[in-house]
Subunit: 336 residues, 2 copies
């Protein structure tokens, strides 16, 4: 697989991005890593011992976190994420990774790579890791959704979760809602419930906030507004609670000793909660694997994300398009 | 204050509700607790040593968790929560507490007690306790909101938070959104941002999920769909992370010893996160303090909620109505 990496996107670019890409290239000797950005800047981070499956492709500066994405892409078509997306469009790369502005990556993917057939709007699929991992989508690509968008997210999420988790059977899809009964929620939630129920997706119905991450579904479908707030709340609360536990352990000498014994165990809990171990979010609904890293990704996060693309991304686009097509064909049949 | 308590509502009614009410009555000798429900059932839980400021008011069975609230209230106007709400309407009680069906309590309050002037729809205000407490509203009363509803929630939440937390200055109000910039989010979020900005409320702007509960605002405003999912996700994630920490501490003899030393400290963390310590959610926007306990409240949670009503509820309704009136007057002035 040839993976185009926006070397300039992210708070810690280019150093950490380049280091992560090099780490991934070493773990993926049969893949090619294409670092996109200013060759001088990348070269300085790359040093002299870069693996032979890493190469550089020239591009302009990254789109900043504070820039309006589509305006920035229009003004600077050579921005690193835009060039990387163009490489996927032109068949020079099979997938794209960026830890830069999420909005810019989504915009570049839509403008340069384009949507899957039958998919009006894309979704960002993210792993909610604790305690039972599930794929949450949309985590923020499409803040205002129609019911058909949520059906599409259910289809895309199911295919993705099967591959990502290596499930034996079909992925179980739940709809995030304020109650378990089918009549609950907004009009959007009610109509999406009806569409997904009739779609042939393995649908477990509504899932309440309290059951997010408790293993009742492999895929949690919601609009990009709710999904973004839920994901960030879950990450934030997990971090805060672990911080409270850590503070509780620093009061006296005795508790410090006890904490010394327990620390390795708590580090394992923290690692399960740490997004860096889950390698980025997938933009589903565009014609190619596009993966978005946390803005503050360090080398380890970038490396895990790129390795993940190599494992999950092959054939993903075709599988997603097939699944959309077959559910939509069933919808048309059902309606006629 | 005279507080009508739905003695039959909740998973652990009547025993735990009655026990909590008795506990509260002992702590509030100048208040009156009116237990509403079947006198025989309540009497059996009450025993012989009930304080003199506890009395019983006859009513029929509670509305079940699985009943459609307004249908149930229409068919059984003597349901305990409906009778308790009627007592507030008729001036026989000053406030209402129920740990029964949230939907039924909201419906009974709207039907029997009625809305505050200028408030089209009510909101459920809940304390998000960790690590910096904030009031989140709406936690589920109004799943589909208009921008003006969110402005009303901002006004109601600010008045409530000032009293609940005993703030010196005006409460800081934030709007839950997917980004910090004013142009972010759905049309609802954008229009609400503009309305709240112009309202005179002390507005700190958009608050992302990651900052929920981090002390950037005293009040977090959102629609009832997002609020319900966020609140339940936050509670669920907190519980799961503490469970992971607990499991991490039970592996070997050494870690068990260490955990023995740390357990009291972790119990304090758990207590800060436990909703039972925060005494129920307030339904704001109706003409009287209406407080909704967790369905699985035990005596301690009921007691804390009733004591909270006595401390926070006096004069609350008038203060909320004043605040709505003065902001709306300013809106009309601004428009003319």
């Amino acid at each position: 697989m040839r993976i185009a990496v926006d070397a300039l996107g992210g708070d810690n670019a280019p150093e950490e991005v380049v280091a992560g890409a090099v780490g991934a290239a070493k773990r993926l000797p049969r893949d090619e890593i294409l670092l996109v950005g200013d060759p001088g800047t990348i070269g300085a981070s790359l040093g002299s011992d870069s693996p032979s499956n890493v190469s550089v492709r020239a591009a302009g500066a990254a789109v900043g976190m504070d820039e309006e994405p589509s305006t920035a892409l229009r003004r600077r078509p050579d921005a690193s994420v835009a060039v990387a997306a163009g490489m996927v469009r032109d068949g020079e790369a099979d997938a794209l990774f960026s830890a830069g502005s999420t909005g810019a990556t989504v915009a570049a993917a839509l403008l340069r790579i384009g949507r899957l057939k039958g998919c009006r709007r894309p979704a960002i699929a993210t792993v909610l890791p604790f305690p039972s991992p599930a794929i949450l989508l949309d985590a923020g690509a499409t803040v205002s959704c129609r019911p058909q968008d949520l059906l599409n997210f259910a289809i895309l999420g199911a295919v993705f979760a099967e591959r990502y988790f290596g499930l034996e059977g079909a992925a179980r899809v739940g709809l995030v809602n304020v109650g378990e009964e089918p009549g609950k929620g907004t009009d959007l939630a009610k109509e999406a419930h009806a569409l997904i129920s009739a779609s042939g997706v393995r649908f477990v119905g509504n899932v309440e906030g309290r059951d997010v991450g408790r293993g009742v579904a492999d895929v949690l479908v919601t609009d990009g507004f709710t999904g973004n707030v839920v994901l960030k709340t879950a990450e934030g609360v997990a971090r805060e609670i672990l911080g409270m536990v850590r503070s509780a352990m620093t009061g006296s000498l005795v508790s410090k000793l006890a904490a010394g014994v327990l620390r390795p165990r708590l580090v394992r809990v923290r690692d399960r909660v740490d997004p860096e171990n889950y390698g980025g979010s997938y933009l589903l609904g565009v014609r190619g694997p596009v993966v978005i890293g946390h803005g503050n990704s360090r080398a380890r996060g970038v490396e895990n994300a790129i390795v993940g693309i190599s494992r999950t991304g092959g054939g993903l686009t075709a599988a997603l398009e097939d699944a959309l097509g077959s559910v939509h064909a069933r919808q048309v049949e059902g309606a006629s």
